[in-house]
Amino acid sequence: MHPLIRLVARRIALGILLLLAASVLIFAGTEVLPGDVASAILGQGATEKTLANLREALGLDRPAVVRYFEWLGGVLQGDLGTSLTNRRDIATTLAGRMSNTLFLAFWAAVIAVPLAILLGLVAVRYQGRWPDKLISGTTLASISVPEFLLGYIAAFFLAVQFKLLPSVATMHGGMDLGDKLMAIALPVLVLVLTVLGHMMRMTRAAILNVMQSAYIETAELKGLSPFAVIARHALPNAIAPVVNVVMINLAYLVVGVVVVEVVFVYPGMGQYLVDHVAKRDVPVVQACGLIFAAVYIGLNLLADLISIIANPRLRHPK
């Protein structure tokens, strides 16, 4: 078998194992929280008797290990359980929320990733001169400002002062793509500004590191233009670190956008999770936790795979 296939298969198997471990942690984490689902449902009016009855009815009196495997079995069949607060099927509700989150993350990524890499290349090309300083300075500033503040500043100017964009990102079924894009323009802008800096700075650092190599001198002595040297000879050798930081930021776009969702009242996963944490709705929290873990592990796995495939030594062994 090609060693590359073996390597990839091993990484994927490891990813699955890691996800299983995460599911154990999530389940155990919600188990050790004080109070259980039964006391959460019954609230103040709970007595020993009603609690015991409800536990029996929900199957909570059985050992945790049994319940874990039941939960895991359900998850594998697409059954994430039922919400305790509104008795709705979690998978159905989550699907809508997830698609909103992915929609927002997708457009933020489509803008931020190519822009970050391009700005990184430009910063390397003009290293130490004003374009580099301008790019590095503004991205550093955009990382440093908290995203809720960025959100309010953007909303104040673009929505309130100049009335260019809606300040609230309401989504409903009847909107066409143009309306939807208009609605998410502000949150996308804020997310782009938040993730751009990390990716651009890592691209710049990774390429500058490669620029020390002897083969860069070879390329310069062929009479290539500075930008061709950077894009054709340096970038292909800087892919691994760049892909890694890109994936971490993509994961953040899916998992970490709760603040931006709240600022713009966007109906995504983050808000959904936060709402149900407040209501002690354990099955929803578990389902969201598992999906976030899957996104993180999946994207990091993808980063590993791309780095492996981008390495000619692994792709074309001797």
Partner: protein, 544 residues
């Protein structure tokens, strides 16, 4: 006479250096360099490190590494004055009129791209021909440079071919755009001696066939004598002597050139055989997880106060032998015997006395020393560790050792960074001697040094041997070094000892095939040697 391809007149090159703890200051790398190169001629630039030869070579491309600047004089390439040219004009010249072959092809090729892409890149970027034409030319060059399977060679990635093949591919890359001038910067220095000869012959043939002019930079006069029409000798950035190759190597006028020509002429008569102090008996060894043995059934012996040279190319197992003797790599079978007893295989099981008796000196003196310790601390450490010496007694002994390695007062309080390469290697020798060992293992100790400095180190080692009676196990790939200092020789090839004995026997015919190849590959300081060897080998292979 045709117009010169390259004319350099009164070139001055400067760089700004930033010494730690001091103000940045300008240093002159090249003073007043003047040379001219006619079409189709080959000029050899020769000198030690720091002579400015690479700097001049790169100046022909209008290029300065780091902060290097061409500050005065003229560099005229094919009618264009390079110092006055702007970046666009320089880019147009580079890769089209003038190309460059670097010392380490392994580092100079982009690991992420196929060889063909890189070989034809300059040709395509300058719009000199279409892709199919450029590929056809590259395949033709691969063929004439003797690369295997020239039709498909370009599909490989750099890591898939050997060092010698990469160096030829780099030559093909330089010749592909049909330049007027190629700058070869030490193109064979990083290669094994048996590989070097083939690459050298391939480069020479390619130069002749394409009629290109070349600057050939090297520190090895015997190598440059094979390819250059004229030679320019440089030292400390100044021109020492210039003239036709034959004249420079047979009748040099300057002392420095004479020293270069007669380098490695140390005469060391071989000592009579004696009862060995260190024997390696039937040792086989492999690295953990490796499929094959690095050493197979190696048996060698070293007599007290003598030198056993272990000679071989990279990968022959000679450094692994040193690791086995010192206990760093326990052998799979066999034994190390020292002064009549068997040494424990593992380092951890050896006594302090065992450790003291066998010391080591390494190739890279600067990485073998702690840069934050003074010479006094570095040499004083074994005195404390093995003999418990302290205070004034230790300092006195450190000074004694410094005198022995011909470094006087004032060196004890310097840091390694304040020493030259040769001085660092001398400190390493003093550190090894401080333990008063019976045997010192010298692993390629002169390989990283300039020839004249290396000569000084070899003389010092011989001198110390005569005074202290220490035995050397001297690992090297350099036959000239072996001739200079060995009493006995073991030739290693692919983990086996293929030939051993006293120096006189080993270096005299009849030879086994490998030793013959090794000895006949060492460049000799005369013109025409390369052609003779190649012709001789061709006859031999035709005869078989």
């Amino acid at each position: 006479m045709a117009e010169d391809i390259l004319r350099i007149e009164g070139l001055k090159v400067e760089a700004t250096i930033h010494p730690p703890g001091e103000r940045p200051r300008d240093v002159v790398l090249v003073h007043e360099a003047t040379l001219a190169l006619a079409p189709g001629r080959v000029l050899g630039l020769i000198g030690e490190s720091g002579a400015g030869k690479s700097t001049i070579g790169l100046a022909a491309l209008g290029y300065g590494r780091g902060g290097v600047r061409l500050t005065a004089g003229r560099v005229v390439l094919g009618g264009t004055e390079i110092r006055a040219a702007d970046a666009g004009v320089l880019r147009d010249l580079r890769g089209r009129r003038v190309t460059y072959v670097a010392q380490s092809a392994a580092a100079a090729f982009n690991p992420a791209k196929r060889l063909m892409e890189q070989v034809i890149e300059a040709t395509l970027r300058h719009g000199l021909s279409t892709r199919p034409e450029a590929e056809a030319r590259a395949v033709g060059l691969f063929r004439s440079l003797g690369l295997p399977d020239p039709e498909h060679f370009g599909r490989r990635f750099p890591h898939q071919v050997s060092g010698g093949q990469l160096q030829r591919a780099m030559t093909a890359m330089a010749l592909c755009p049909r330049p007027d001038l190629v700058v070869f910067d030490e193109p064979t220095t990083a290669l094994d001696v048996t590989t070097q000869i083939d690459v050298l012959a391939a480069i020479k043939r390619a130069i002749r066939e394409t009629g290109v002019a070349a600057l050939y930079i090297t520190h090895d006069l015997a190598v440059v004598a094979q390819v250059a029409d004229d030679i320019l000798v440089l030292r400390h950035g100044r021109m020492v002597e210039t003239g036709p190759t034959g004249t420079i190597i047979t009748a040099p006028t300057e002392d420095y050139t004479r020293a270069l020509v007669s380098v490695r002429a140390i005469a060391h008569p071989e000592a009579p055989p004696a009862e060995p102090i260190l024997t390696v008996e039937g040792v086989s060894a492999r690295y953990p997880g490796a499929a094959a043995d690095v050493l197979s059934d190696v048996t060698v012996a070293l007599a007290p106060g003598q030198t056993l040279a272990v000679v071989g190319e990279s990968g022959s197992g000679k450094s692994t032998l040193a690791r086995v003797i010192t206990g760093l790599l326990p052998p799979a079978s066999g034994a190390i015997r020292f002064a009549g007893r068997t040494l424990p295989a593992r380092l951890a099981e050896r006594t302090r006395e065992d450790l003291r008796e066998i010391q080591m000196i390494y190739q890279m003196a600067d990485v073998a020393m702690n840069p934050r310790q003074t010479v006094r601390t570095i040499i004083g450490r074994p005195l404390e560790f093995y003999f418990g010496m302290k205070g004034a007694a230790r300092d006195a002994r450190v000074q004694e050792l410094l005198d022995a390695i011909e470094l006087g007062q004032g060196y004890a309080d310097r840091y390694p960074a304040e020493l030259s390469g040769g001085q660092k290697q001398r400190v390493s020798i003093a550190r090894a001697l401080a333990a008063r060992p019976k045997v010192i293992i010298c692993d390629e100790v002169t390989s990283a040094l300039d020839p004249l400095v290396a000569d000084g180190i070899l003389k010092l080692l011989l001198d110390l041997q005569a005074r202290e009676g220490v035995g050397y196990l001297f690992i090297t790939h350099d036959i000239a070094t072996v001739r200079a200092i060995a009493d006995a020789i073991a030739v290693m090839h692919r983990g086996r000892v293929v030939r051993q004995g006293r120096k006189g026997q080993v270096l005299a015919p009849p030879f086994d095939d490998y030793t013959d190849l090794l000895l006949s590959s060492v460049p000799e300081m005369r013109t025409g040697w390369l052609e003779e060897v190649i012709a001789h080998r061709r006859m031999e292979s035709a005869g078989h």
